[in-house]
């Protein structure tokens, strides 16, 4: 059953009963195969996202900024998740007073306000405020230019952990040609620094190297870069310096996209032969196309099989294969896959003598993996300078990981 868990009317220009039309419309669209994230009824527009079994719906009757609305809805999910660990029916009901308070603080008259959950937690607490307590004052951070970090943070040991994570997206055609590929990188920080530190991150960025006349050979050309609110964007635009006062704790400092043609790190060749009314035979060859010293961990190769297949038999040269009938997949798992190596998996399925004639979807083979201590692009953290007025020494720790992103290989069958 469906009901409204909680709602907040910010402007009073849309009747609260309008929401009753939302789900029927959504279901109707779904049935017609015309699902859309923006649904209109009369002059009311519903902009929605789904999080597990909850719909977060914004209603408007104006020409609102749709990009802002979706960004805000996702921000809501983020804030609620940080407050309640899980955003679900129960956590909303269990905390409805705080949820109302948050909704009040996050948006006013349709304008998003303070949405940084770390700062919100300083004055909207789950225990309920007592007025006499000093903390129910507005933290100055809320309206500061530095709206993401409070003053007076203290750590015994000052450290920053930097994770450079690169995800490889590949789309390979059935004939084995790479249709599109790119790298989406992300630099995440875990900051444990006292006070108001000024940080500067140095990367082997091609544009920076060109600007400063350094050897371009060992640098990386980033097609596009996106930064956390804390990074001074105009400074970066001027001289490619990444300078910032970091948020406390975990945060994503930046992400980047690299358009170069990447060699698929795990190459898959597959033969899927379907003998009507009798059997399906699958042969998958996986090859590690990366340095011998590196190892890919937790490799998962998912191969689609027909929905009416039965009695699976497998043979693998390494790892183990498993049939997941509810997803119509064979999952071949290889815990550790060294570079340069090649492995083989054969699968055999029976097919019923009476086959269903409905056309079946042709899902691609997908691959999941993780290769530590290595980035495909060759991006490197050259330095992280940390300056705080108290003059403490702080240590940056850097870790590199390459992993699969959207990694799809189309098949012939």
């Amino acid at each position: 059953s469906v009901f409204v868990l909680i709602c907040r009317n910010y402007k009073g220009d849309v009747d609260m009963a309008e929401i009753d039309h939302f789900l029927p419309l959504l279901l109707q669209q779904e049935e017609e195969g015309l699902l859309s994230p923006a649904i209109t009824r009369g002059n009311v527009h519903f902009l929605w996202i789904k999080h597990s079994n909850l719909y977060l719906v914004a209603t408007t009757n104006k020409n609102s900024n749709a990009a802002l609305v979706y960004a805000f809805l996702y921000k809501l999910v983020e804030v609620f998740t940080e407050y309640f660990k899980e955003l679900e029916e129960e956590s909303i009901q269990d905390n409805f007073v705080v949820v109302y308070e948050l909704l009040d603080e996050l948006m006013d008259f349709g304008f998003p306000q303070t949405t940084d959950s770390k700062i919100l937690q300083e004055y909207i607490t789950q225990e309920g405020n007592k007025l006499e307590v000093a903390k129910s004052k507005v933290p100055t951070t809320v309206t500061n230019a530095v709206s993401w970090r409070s003053e007076g943070i203290k750590y015994k040991k000052n450290e920053v952990f930097i994770d450079v994570i690169e995800s490889i997206n590949v789309l390979v055609n059935a004939n084995g040609s790479v249709m599109s590929s790119d790298i989406v990188g992300s630099i995440k920080l875990k900051t444990m620094l006292s006070g108001m530190p000024e940080l500067r991150l140095g990367l082997n960025d091609r544009v920076l190297f060109t600007l400063t006349g350094r050897d371009k050979g060992k640098s990386v050309a980033m097609e596009d870069v996106k930064f956390h609110q804390c990074v001074r964007l105009s400074r970066f635009e001027n001289d490619r310096t990444i300078s910032f006062i970091p948020p406390d704790g975990e945060s994503e400092l930046m992400s980047y996209r690299i358009n170069t043609h990447v060699k698929p790190l795990i190459w898959i060749e597959s033969v899927i032969e379907r003998f009507s009314h009798s059997r399906v035979e699958i042969m998958v060859k996986a090859k590690g196309q990366f340095k011998k010293q590196s190892v890919a961990n937790n490799v998962e190769i998912k191969v689609p099989v027909p929905s009416d297949a039965d009695s699976p038999k497998f043979k693998t040269s390494t790892g183990h294969a498993k049939y997941v009938p509810e997803k119509n997949l064979v999952v071949w798992t290889i815990k550790s896959f060294p570079g340069g190596k090649e492995f083989l998996m054969r699968a055999h399925f029976g097919l019923p003598s009476v086959e269903n004639d409905e056309k079946e979807a042709k899902p691609p083979i997908t691959v999941k993996f993780e290769i530590p201590y290595f980035t495909v692009s060759g991006i490197q953290v050259r330095y992280m300078k940390i300056i705080e007025k108290s003059g403490y020494q702080a240590l940056p720790w850097v870790r590199y990981i390459t992993q699969s992103g959207d990694y799809q290989l189309r098949t012939n069958s």
């Binding site: 195969g33 990009a67 007025l131 006499e132 230019a145 930064f227 609110q229 979807a361 799809q408």
Partner: protein, 827 residues
């Protein structure tokens, strides 16, 4: 312990119990009770009868309780306006609380109580909060002005709150600035053309500075506001662009899109041959592509907007076709949008890849997507001539799959390919005919029938094929009936001897047995033509078809420009004009195009209206103009006498449009000998009306200390064209038909070397709006509307035809001639 227990009480007499608890002596009990009330409210129970008891709990030093009470107030005040007054005192008191959280909470809630009666009590507290020492209170008060304006606009203006808001733009705190901008933008939506925000270079500079310091949301408010600004020249435009560009690197996708909006709009102002223009174009592509790695809903908004950007400036993304390749796990709405953009970007350079992709998609299982993929192959064939052959063979492969909807869709697009490339691919007709029986959709049946009729002379059994459709003639859709009628007539004209009976049969079915007027009309026309003048019949029926255009589904240029100015908004997602979102839809709206109008407005040379010789040394030269929805008389007064002049005044005689000055002459200091002064006199049309000859004649009297002087001048009509002169399409159609012929006027404009889009843009700068454009037999037809200040609508049809070089043929062969059909209609 969690709050969920509050949802469980569901006994009879619940309200009664709650009432008792709300009046309990113990604070804790009362707080518990209010929580229960809010819980009941949350699940939709009516607890409005507890209003006085809840308000009684308002005086508390517990912040959580206070918030709950306020929440209750916001929900029920409107249904209990008389009791809402009870809360006023508490608000006033809370607005003076030493704790800024409480002051802000009070001012935030106040504005949400949409009860007209109590708003006046809130003015004083709001005034104080707007000047509060704490920025948290000020930023909340700024938003409160917008809230109050929504309830009682007049009061907000009378109380000077708009000025206070404008002052906050210069606030030292970036969040206050951002909220003030947001509030002013919101308010100005109901005051088109008012320039409430007072966007001048100084204020723009303040906004650009705040842009670097405020939160991501504040950045969006400021960018959206900047996109309404009209830089005075290209230098200013470039310097704003330079300061906006860094926002393209923000992690928040909405910040990126709002920055893209500003840049796309200001690009218009930059010279196309400048280095900066090229650099900026290059910078726009990567962030747009990155948006496609976002959440699916964000991708959707991005794709809908990219669709616009690709139509406006295809060069930005022409190298990026691969990022629009569809992934298996993309949601259907993302798949369909990507497909659309792929076709728009298809070119000879990438067609091989595109086709390979489309063929892959056409074998998927999602019917809508597959159909669109097949259609896309057809569009590629029409768009990229070199690929046509390959497209046709791909379509034939797909027809061989015998998947019913694929075959039908393929036949429809092959018909279009035949129209585009006549007499080129008939060799495949035999294959198409094999599938005749499987066609059960009207579109596909009509397409097949058209093909058979068009190539009847090459299909041996054309008569049999067409006859087979005749059996169930009356069950067919109109589209199939009309096509079948025409196809059989074509067949008859090509093979008259064998098909006489067939044509008789179809003509009688169409004219005698049908009650569809369109079908009957067409039947009779054919019948008459065939029986009276077979030669003409041949000419008419077998005439060359107008070629079909390469691009389909293009958005009208004027709408496209408007949508570009609203990138990121719902209008850009739905590809509907922004004014379609205005409540009631016919309301006044600020046509974004008049922002361009100001920038591109040309100032005509000043004319000497009053020579010095006729006015004892006073010379007046002037012109008229329309800026941001207001009319002005721009004049230069020169003192050519030997003595100084003072006591200036101006007066107009009654005139056709009731034009009068709205202010006295703004000359406040004496005009010394040989000195001149430029003034801009605002005008309105609320004065007395008298018909003049010519209609636009204006008689003026100017007085100074020396004497009174008279002159007359002509007002250019275009200053009377108002900004909301864009008529709804439907209204236009109806009105056009209703206007009697005697109100029609035709004339020609010669020697105008512009194409339809440029013309349309130029006219729009003068508030002449293009409602629709269509291409009829190679001529562009623009349908336009304009509205005069006195409410008279003028509708026009503008026909632009490729010129005859002998006609104008002096310099260029691409000269075009216009014929302008003006229709005047007074409502």
């Amino acid at each position: 312990m969690t709050d969920s227990k509050y949802f469980t009480t569901n006994k009879k007499g619940e309200i009664f119990e709650l009432k008792a608890e709300l009046n309990n002596e113990k604070k804790e009990k009362r707080k518990e009770a209010v929580k229960k009330v809010i819980a009941a409210m949350t699940v939709g129970k009516d607890v409005s009868s507890l209003f006085p008891d809840v308000v009684n709990c308002m005086q508390t030093d517990n912040l959580e309780l206070k918030k709950l009470v306020y929440l209750y107030l916001m929900n029920y005040a409107k249904s209990q306006p008389d009791m809402a007054i009870m809360a006023v005192n508490s608000f006033v008191k809370d607005c003076e609380d030493p704790n800024p959280l409480i002051r802000a909470l009070a001012v935030r809630t106040m504005g949400c109580i949409r009860v007209d009666k109590i708003t006046e009590y809130l003015c004083e507290p709001l005034r104080k909060c707007l000047k509060d020492e704490d920025p948290y209170v000020r930023k909340t008060a700024a938003v409160c002005v917008a809230k109050l304006h929504d309830i009682n606009a007049q009061m907000v203006e009378d109380q000077g709150f708009l000025d206070s808001l404008r002052d906050l733009i210069a606030d030292s705190n970036p969040m206050v600035v951002a909220n003030a901008v947001a509030a002013l933008s919101e308010i100005s939506e109901s005051h088109p053309n008012s320039n409430l925000l007072d966007l001048n270079p100084q204020n723009i500079n303040k906004l650009l500075t705040a842009l670097n310091e405020c939160t991501e949301w504040g950045q969006i408010f400021i960018l959206d506001c900047l996109s309404n600004y009209n830089p005075k020249d290209e230098r200013e435009a470039q310097s704003i662009c330079e300061r906006v560009t860094p926002r393209l690197s923000h992690a928040n996708s909405a910040v990126v899109l709002s920055a893209v909006k500003v840049l796309m709009k200001f690009l218009e102002l930059l010279p196309k041959d400048s280095d900066y223009y090229g650099t900026l174009l290059k910078k726009l592509s990567p962030p747009l592509v990155t948006l496609l790695s976002g959440e699916p809903e964000v991708q959707y908004v991005a794709l809908r907007n990219i669709n616009l950007i690709v139509q406006k400036r295809p060069e930005i993304l022409k190298q990026e076709i691969k990022v629009f390749f569809v992934k298996y796990n993309d949601p259907i709405y993302v798949k369909l949008e990507k497909l659309d953009i792929m076709i728009r970007l298809a070119s000879q350079a990438n067609i091989a890849q595109v086709l390979a992709e489309l063929k892959e998609y056409a074998t998927e299982v999602d019917v809508d997507f597959v159909r669109k993929a097949v259609r896309a192959i057809g569009r590629c064939a029409i768009k990229v001539e070199q690929s046509a052959e390959r497209c046709v063979s791909t379509l034939l492969d797909l027809i061989q799959t015998k998947v019913n909807y694929v075959v039908q869709e393929a036949i429809v697009v092959i018909r279009d390919i035949f129209r585009k490339y006549p007499n080129k691919y008939e060799s495949i007709i035999a294959t198409l005919c094999e599938n005749l029986d499987s066609l059960d959709e009207p579109d596909a049946r009509a397409a097949m029938i058209w093909i058979v009729g068009e190539y009847a002379e090459r299909i041996d059994n054309a008569d049999e094929l067409l006859e087979s459709f005749l059996e169930g003639f009356h069950d067919e859709s109109t589209q199939v009936q009309l096509t079948l009628l025409t196809a059989i007539v074509k067949l008859f004209l090509k093979k008259p001897s064998e098909t006489q009976e067939l044509v008789q049969q179809v003509l009688s079915l169409a004219t005698q047995d049908s009650d569809n007027p369109d079908l009957r009309d067409r039947g009779y026309i054919y019948w008459r033509l065939l029986s009276t003048d077979p030669v003409t019949a041949k000419e008419v029926v077998l005439s060359e078809k107008p070629l079909i255009s390469e691009e389909t589904d293009l958005i009208e240029p004027t709408l496209l420009d408007e949508l570009i100015c609203h990138i990121g908004s719902l209008a850009s997602v739905y590809h509907k004009p922004p004014n379609a979102f205005v409540e009631g839809s016919h309301g006044i709206h600020q046509h974004s195009a008049d922002q361009f109008a100001i920038m591109k407005q040309y100032f005509s040379v000043l004319q000497v209206w009053l020579p010095a010789t006729k006015a004892k040394g006073l010379e007046i030269a002037g012109t008229f103009s329309r800026r941001q929805g207001h009319m002005y008389m721009d004049m230069t007064f020169i003192n050519k006498a030997l003595q100084h002049m003072t006591d200036f005044a101006i007066q107009f005689n009654k005139n056709s449009f009731g034009v009068i000055p709205t202010t006295p002459l703004p000359i406040h200091t004496p005009l010394m000998p040989n000195q001149s002064i430029d003034i801009s006199l605002p005008l309105s049309t609320i004065g007395p009306v008298m018909k003049m000859d010519p209609l636009n004649n204006l008689q003026v009297a100017v007085k100074n200390i020396i004497d009174v002087f008279y002159f007359s001048c002509l007002i250019p009509l275009n200053i009377f064209f108002v900004e909301d002169g864009k008529m709804e399409r439907q209204v236009f159609l109806v009105t056009w038909k209703d206007i009697p012929n005697e109100n029609e006027l035709q004339y020609q404009i010669k020697e105008c070397h512009l194409n339809a889009d440029t013309v349309s843009g130029k006219l729009q700068n003068n508030n002449i709006f293009t409602i629709a454009k269509r291409n009829v037999e190679g001529q562009d037809m623009l349908y336009q509307s304009l509205k005069l200040t006195n409410g008279i609508w003028i509708l026009a049809e503008l026909r632009i035809q490729p010129g005859n070089p002998n006609y104008t043929g002096k310099k260029k062969t691409n000269a075009t001639a216009f014929s302008y059909k003006l229709m005047v209609h007074i409502f």
